[in-house]
């Protein structure tokens, strides 16, 4: 009997060891532990059967020792191996490839559809999705306040205007503006809008290669050599940046004339732009993240800091708590440091599909989750 039990234990253990040639020692341990536990459970059941069958006298053809014990212990051991394998795989899937595993306190609010874009101003959040624009409260427990821009098609960009209580909405057909509280939507410009940004004195909108800038009562346009994909107002440097398919371009507005300023070679499409007091960072999608130290921008040799390989796809970037956060889709929310060298510090896999990031006036990070159609505030625990 002991021999049979030993065989029943040895077989799955052996298979667990051979199957896990690339696994670390701990995983092998888990498989062995689970196999042994499963085999023991089988043996206990066989023991139960032994007593239940009047010490085997009424057991029929399957005797407790020669049949039930090896069969049940072997089955238990195999089940243990497979359960351990599943647990290992699940753990592997949840473990970040780089950096620590971060965990945050999440406070979210559900939207009617996946958010395409959102913006935060004071205590308000404006989010745009397939089902229109919704204004939410950015209070401790976020909640929807009102809907705006009902019935409009192809809306995918939104930004609060800082010079008046309204929002700028970009879509595949036009650029619109509407009051935060009341009023109908007004069409500002026709044509598909690829990027918008707002400043304390005006707004910027891009359609294809054309960039329109409004400052106070003046408006002007400037054409870029490449398609514009993103836009950002750098509050510290007080200047506009637009991202194209391969560069980051400064847009200036002097004497009511829009003009191209400094151009930074990004070598990849610029999907999103963000800035802090010290850095300007952009998300490139599959090409990772690039960043430039603000103080070096006026120097002759501009040093580009790059994060490549991880995350595999950078959807959006934002600075919060002195660190760079990266929306990496299904890979989660990445936390990175840029100084002294660019590196990933941690990854949170709590949200299934992180695509949008914004920081509010209090420095708190907000995340747009495409899969759950949620806006989530991310607080350190």
């Amino acid at each position: 009997m002991a021999m049979l039990a030993a065989v029943s234990l040895a077989l799955p253990c052996l298979s667990s060891v051979t199957l896990a040639q690339t696994a670390v020692e701990q995983k092998v341990d888990r498989r062995v532990r689970y196999a042994v536990t499963g085999a023991l459970a089988g043996a206990v059941l066989a023991g139960g059967f032994h007593f239940a069958s009047d010490r085997g006298r009424s057991a029929g053809n399957c005797r407790p020792a020669s049949c039930a014990l090896p069969f049940l212990s072997l089955s238990g051991a195999i089940s243990g191996v497979f359960i351990a394998r599943e647990l290992d795989a699940a753990k592997r899937a949840a473990t970040p490839r780089v950096g620590e595993s971060d965990r945050y306190r999440l406070t979210g609010t559900k939207l009617a559809a996946s958010p395409e874009s959102f913006d935060i101003r004071d205590s308000l959040i404006a989010a745009v999705s397939d089902s229109g624009v919704v204004i939410l409260s950015a209070a401790e427990q976020p909640r929807a306040l009102r809907r705006r821009a009902a019935g409009l098609n192809g809306l995918n960009l939104i930004a609060f205007r800082l010079d008046e209580p309204s929002v700028l909405i970009g879509g595949t057909s036009a650029l619109y503006s509407t009051g935060v509280e009341t009023g109908t939507v007004t069409r500002l410009l026709g044509g598909s809008v690829s990027a918008i940004a707002t400043s304390p004195t005006g707004w910027l909108s891009a359609s294809g290669r054309m960039v329109h800038v409004a400052a106070g009562l003046t408006r002007d346009s400037v054409e870029l050599p490449a398609l514009v994909l993103s836009a950002h107002f750098d509050a510290t440097g007080r200047r506009w940046w637009v991202g194209t398919e391969n560069s980051l371009v400064e847009i200036t507005m002097r004497d009511a004339r829009a003009a191209l300023g400094q151009q930074l070679d990004a070598s990849a499409p610029v999907r999103a732009i963000t800035s802090s007091d010290e850095w300007i960072a952009v998300a490139h999608g599959e090409s990772g993240v690039s960043a430039w130290r603000r103080s070096t921008l006026r120097e002759g040799v501009i040093n580009t800091v790059r994060l490549q390989g991880e995350p595999r796809f950078a959807f959006d970037v934002a600075f919060a708590h002195g660190e760079l956060f990266i929306a990496a889709g299904t890979d989660g929310l990445f936390r990175a440091a840029l100084d002294p060298a660019a590196r990933i510090l941690g990854v949170s896999r709590q949200l299934p599909f992180v695509t949008l990031l914004r920081t509010d006036g209090l420095g708190r990070l907000w995340v747009g989750d495409r899969l759950r159609s949620e806006l989530v505030r991310v607080d350190k625990p």
Binding site: A93, A150, T186
Partner: protein, 728 residues
Amino acid sequence: MPFSPWRAVRRAVLPAIIMATAPVTARSVGAQSETAQLVSASLAKLDMGDTAAALSMLKTATDRYPQDPGALYWRGRLLARTSASGVGNTPQRLLAWRLLNRGSKSEADDPRFLFEMGLLRLKTPLLRFEAERFLLRARDIAARVGDSTTQSEAAYELGQIRERRYRTTYHRYSYTGGIFFDQFAALNRMHYVREFLQQSSRPIENAGATERHEAEEMYRAALKANSGHSPSARAMLGLLYDQRRYDEMTSVARPFLRDSTPDARLWFGAALARFRAGDAATATSWFAAGLQRLSTDDRREVLDLGSLLRVGDSTRVAGLADGVRAATVTAFWEAADPLLSTPENEAQLEYYSRVAFTMLNYEDRETAHRSGWRTDRGQVILRYGEPPTVALMPEIITVFWYPETERSFVFSGSLGFTAAVFAGDFRELTEATRAIDPFRLDNLALAHQVDSISHQVARFRGNDASEYEVITAARLDVATLYKGVDLDRSALNWSMRLGSPDRMRLIEEVTVPVTLPSIDNEVMTSAKLIPVGDYRLRMEAYDPGVRNAAARAQVNLALPKMDASKLSSSDILLAQRVADSGRLLRRRSDAALQPIPATTVAQRDTFAVYWENYGLTPDANGDVLAGVKIVITLVEIVRVGNTATRLFGNIVDVVGLSPEGDQTLSISFDRNEPLSGRDRVPMLVNLGLGSAPVGRYRLEITVTDRVSGTRTTSRRDFSLSPFDRPSL
């Protein structure tokens, strides 16, 4: 291959004798040279498709030089790859295993042996679980020795193993009500599937997520080892699509597309991602590139409409000459396009997207001979789109559920197995469904948003018998199109297209400024001179910035040849009432008519009826004498009011107590007027139906030429709306 003792002795002893007796250097050089020649010759045979000759040569090589790794590898590989899974091929697999195993022992750093052994294990019943171990070893050795090809292949195969596991668990449902899914009830009982999914089962959250993640990691590893490994890229597109990761799909496919990959599946997969991401222009271009790269048979099958038509129509289209069939296909897609005003044909893109979906989901190496759209599930997807609900039941039954039409299709065999087929009588049910509803675009948002345009089209003779003047009047119900839209002003694009049945072209385009909120209707009237022929006329109103501001109308316009010598009448044009000026009408323009766009008049309204008579014979004084009979018949009463009233009214209709079918109005009169060189005799009558019942009416005008005794009849259906309803 049967066991032969002599062969065994020959294999074991002869080479040993030869090896022992030959001078070492000469032996090894000569052996290498001869084996290399044999292997090379066998590969040449293989290239020509002569597998038997190749195997024979390789057998000679391994018999003479049993330790030669090249010969062992190629013979083992060929035997392994030509063996089928199942018990019947066991001897061949055993032989392949022995050869590969021998090679792997002598060439421990050559991962190809282990890789082939892994593939062989995948075909071996009961020992499949071992495949993963060999493939992992092959991958690791390949990485160590820098064999990127084997590394990527092994990683891809490992990904496939994980993906199969994922597909068998993805969409998994568990039972909550303690009853099993009954496919027979699903076939026979209405609402069974809906009720079962809602009340007796529930989806298992995150089912298969771990396997999907592992499969993706393996495919990424394969692409990292060999960036040109298109099967891994293709497989990854399928995984990413399940999670709607369209941007990442594009980034995976882009390097291949940049190199103009011949892999049509990659083009289709990338185009699918772009279309779902809302980039229809790129999707159109990439689908076109994918179509070019399909095999001739596949391309013909995808381009033809066989799967989207009823069986009879499909046979008829297949039997057409190439040119006519191509024209028919073009006409089909033009008619299916929700809006011609958009640059892309969304209906066709949706169809190609469905083809791409079937490529990504229902094809694998084992069914490489069978394209995804030819599978049972693929055919359902082509016709009705990706099902909003897919449920994999514990007893390995897959349910496609389309809530909008309350249709379900049940397959036996889980999602992970490409061989899933219709369960029970669902094949017959699917054919019956096809006969009623062969193609639907329920999952195309634009198709839902398009409203219909009320219109009236009337044909009059043109300047001569070779052309017609076609009057169109259409009503743009601006209030309805912009209902609930939070916008102060916008612009509605109005367009008209006309052309032969296979190709329409733009003939009129107008931008109508709209100030909101609007309660006004816009009336678009036009008069076009069109040569004799068969045409399609399409009218569209579209505001791309507003979700529901889209409407269309399509008319088949037959403009037959006219015989100027025979009596005939034009269509009847319904217009706003006009005062009779007493002047002799020479053309329609003399009457200053405002056509009614919707062929709907209100109770107590008076409206004008205008038509033209051609070929009336003048008498000796040059006058024409025509007898006119106007009959208006109530075709159908439209009941208004509460349910009880409508029900009672309908019963009364059935038993014949209501005035349905009665002639509501009948007028006869003679008209005598000078022809005065006119090529037509226009006639204008004002009519009113008072408080006749609301419903559908038929207006019939018969003109009798009192001189020649011939007669002609024209008809026009119209509707009578309630008195308080605003009408044009």
